[in-house]
């Protein structure tokens, strides 16, 4: 088991290097002189040149990339053009809000999505199934930022139940979390339904029924246990969607997270902050998928078996 986990962790390193390389490449190709951006339009050419030398911007590409990686390992991925503060500090300050939002949303999506999918599968082609699956298709097709605006219109402006912005209380977190969870909820319920439908037709389910097992045990133990593997994969992948959605959702509800920070940075052309945000989000996404891989080892007995006795 530990060998499996160790292998996953080792495979994670080249991914991190690759992601950093892509982000560095994009920063490198971005038009505009970073030294000039940091010093502002008023600075003299001499000062700009001096700073270029100091920042190593005149070095060859790969020397710069090597330095970027070494600095990144120490948590330094450049400075914001606008605030002049280190990008890492700004992002870490905003990260808890994004993480809270993503976790809250994923909980809503799992807690509602999996039961919805199970019931739809058990009662395939019933009214419940049809309604749930139409809802799921609409959920996938709806842009989250529009859904967010509609929820604000209905629940904040008309009913006044929830605040339209901010993230400081539980009530303020409800609308952003519901907004962000909707597409994942839809995907998870669709996936659960199809995965369950496939499992329900297997021989071992017929066997379990034939030997007189209670229907609830058949569904929850025998069927769900086996249907869970693709569901776990989808939940892990949904985290990527949640982080993307967070950028839009945070911007709609003014949640002080990494997404809104990036949107502000896009508006002010603060490229190091934009790319830094993408880098941190990609790392977070990879870490979550690493965790999902490790969870697999516990959900899927085949992996355990493969590494036993070694």
């Amino acid at each position: 088991m530990w060998r499996y986990i160790l292998r996953r962790v080792v495979a994670f390193i080249p991914v991190l290097l690759g992601v950093s390389f892509i982000i560095f490449l994009l920063l490198y190709m971005t038009p505009g002189d970073p030294a000039r951006m940091l010093l502002g339009d008023m600075a003299t050419e001499d000062r700009v040149q001096a700073l270029r030398q100091e920042m190593g911007l005149n070095d060859p590409f790969f020397v710069q990339f090597g330095r970027y990686i070494l600095n990144a390992l120490q948590g330094d991925i450049g400075r914001s053009y606008i605030t002049k503060h280190p990008v890492t500090g700004e992002i870490l300050a905003a990260f808890p809000a994004t993480l809270k939002l993503a976790i809250f949303s994923v909980i809503i999506a799992i807690v509602l999505g999996i039961p919805l999918g199970i019931v739809s599968a058990i009662r395939q082609y019933s009214l419940f199934d049809t309604v749930a699956m139409v809802f799921a298709l609409v959920g996938i097709s709806m842009p989250v930022f529009w859904l967010g605006l509609l929820l604000i219109l209905f629940f904040s402006v008309h009913l006044g139940w929830f605040p339209a912005s901010g993230f400081d209380s539980f009530r303020a977190m409800v609308l952003p979390a519901v907004t962000l969870s909707t597409p994942s909820l839809a995907v998870i319920s669709r996936m659960t339904r199809s995965s369950m439908l496939e499992v329900i037709r297997q021989d071992y389910i017929r066997t379990a029924r034939a030997k007189g097992q209670k229907e609830s045990v058949v569904i929850w133990r025998h069927a769900l246990g086996n249907a869970l593997i693709p569901i776990v994969t989808i939940v892990g992948l949904q985290f990527g969607g949640l982080l993307e959605g967070a950028v839009l959702t945070e911007s709609v509800f003014s949640v002080p997270g990494v997404g809104r920070l990036m949107v502000e940075a896009i508006k002010t052309r603060d490229y190091p902050l934009v790319q830094g945000g993408v880098l941190y989000m990609a790392v977070a996404f990879s870490l979550i998928n690493l965790l999902v891989d490790i969870v697999y080892a516990y959900v899927d007995p085949r992996i355990k078996a493969q590494y036993q006795g070694r």
Binding site: L137, I140, M142, W146, L243, Q275
Partner: protein, 283 residues
């Protein structure tokens, strides 16, 4: 030849039996007509401002109302169909051509070539695609075309994976061997024999891909990347209307509905195509 025709006919008839897919196809055809003939169908110009009409709610002359500059929203939504479909098709075209070629080469040659290409794709896949598109769009600078390129490149790894998978499954079949035996070049085998035989999953992915490209682009322009005013892009329209959501919700309502209808239609068609092209893939 006869067999091929009957095959196509069977696919068509399976697609026809799927009512949701037909409904989606009908909406898509309407959208295409709107996009092509926008200049004739739209009652007003998409950039003509009439400040007297500013923020007017829907009325008989302006069924969707007017935005903050007094521009007719219906006309802007109609012209927006042109922008969105263009973005969707161009972005998917870029992703499909680049990704398809990379995937075909990786699957066909295998070994080290496969390893290098697919590990690179894995790295790209570990950046969620909208975020990758944001990063690329930020470094390319503003503009509709750059936005399409960014969204397209961000989708390359998905196509590469799918094509590689299908190529692997047909690489060792007899007709490929036969083509090799008669001395066809690798390029000819890939383009003439391999790619046509793994189109089914690619077509399905492309249809769904147009949907996600449109959604992605709307999201990117919602947060202020890419589209420059006065281009009537739906996401950008939503973005400028959100300021007025409390008192003038009609500005955000209609562009959002347009996005949702388009994506829904594409999803219906994509699901229908998947079931029709390969009943085994049916979920």
């Amino acid at each position: 030849m006869a067999k091929r025709r009957s095959n196509a006919r069977e696919i068509l008839s399976r697609f026809r039996r799927n009512r949701l897919a037909l409904f989606g196809a009908a909406i898509l055809i309407c959208l295409c007509v709107l996009a092509v003939f926008a200049d004739f169908i739209a009652p007003y110009s998409y950039e003509e401002q009439d400040l007297l009409l500013s923020l007017d709610p829907p009325s008989r002359d302006h069924p969707f109302g007017a935005d903050e500059f007094g521009r007719d929203i219906l006309s802007r939504v109609i012209h927006g169909a042109r922008v969105s479909l263009q973005v969707g098709f161009v972005a998917v075209g870029i992703g499909m051509i680049l990704g398809g070629l990379l995937g075909a080469v990786a699957g066909f040659y295998g070994k080290r070539t496969d390893n290098i290409i697919m590990r690179t794709m894995d790295i790209l896949l570990s950046i969620p695609s909208t975020l990758l598109a944001i990063a690329i769009a930020a470094s390319l600078g503003p503009g509709l075309f750059n936005l399409m390129v960014a969204v397209g490149i961000a989708s390359v790894p998905r196509y590469a994976r799918i094509v590689r998978g299908s190529v692997l499954s047909i690489r060792n079949q007899e007709f490929i061997e036969a083509a090799k035996a008669v001395g066809s070049s690798d390029a000819r085998i890939i383009v003439r024999h391999v790619l046509p035989n793994c189109m089914a999953p690619v077509i399905v992915q492309a249809t769904l891909g147009v949907a996600s490209a449109i959604l992605n682009t709307a999201g990117l322009s919602f947060i202020g990347l890419g589209i420059q005013p006065p281009i009537p892009e739906w996401g950008a329209m939503l973005s400028s209307g959100r300021t007025y959501i409390r008192d003038f919700p009609h500005i955000t309502l209609f562009p959002g509905l347009a996005i949702m209808m388009t994506i829904l239609a594409l999803n219906f068609v994509g699901d229908g195509l998947r079931d029709a092209l390969d009943p085994k893939l049916k979920r």
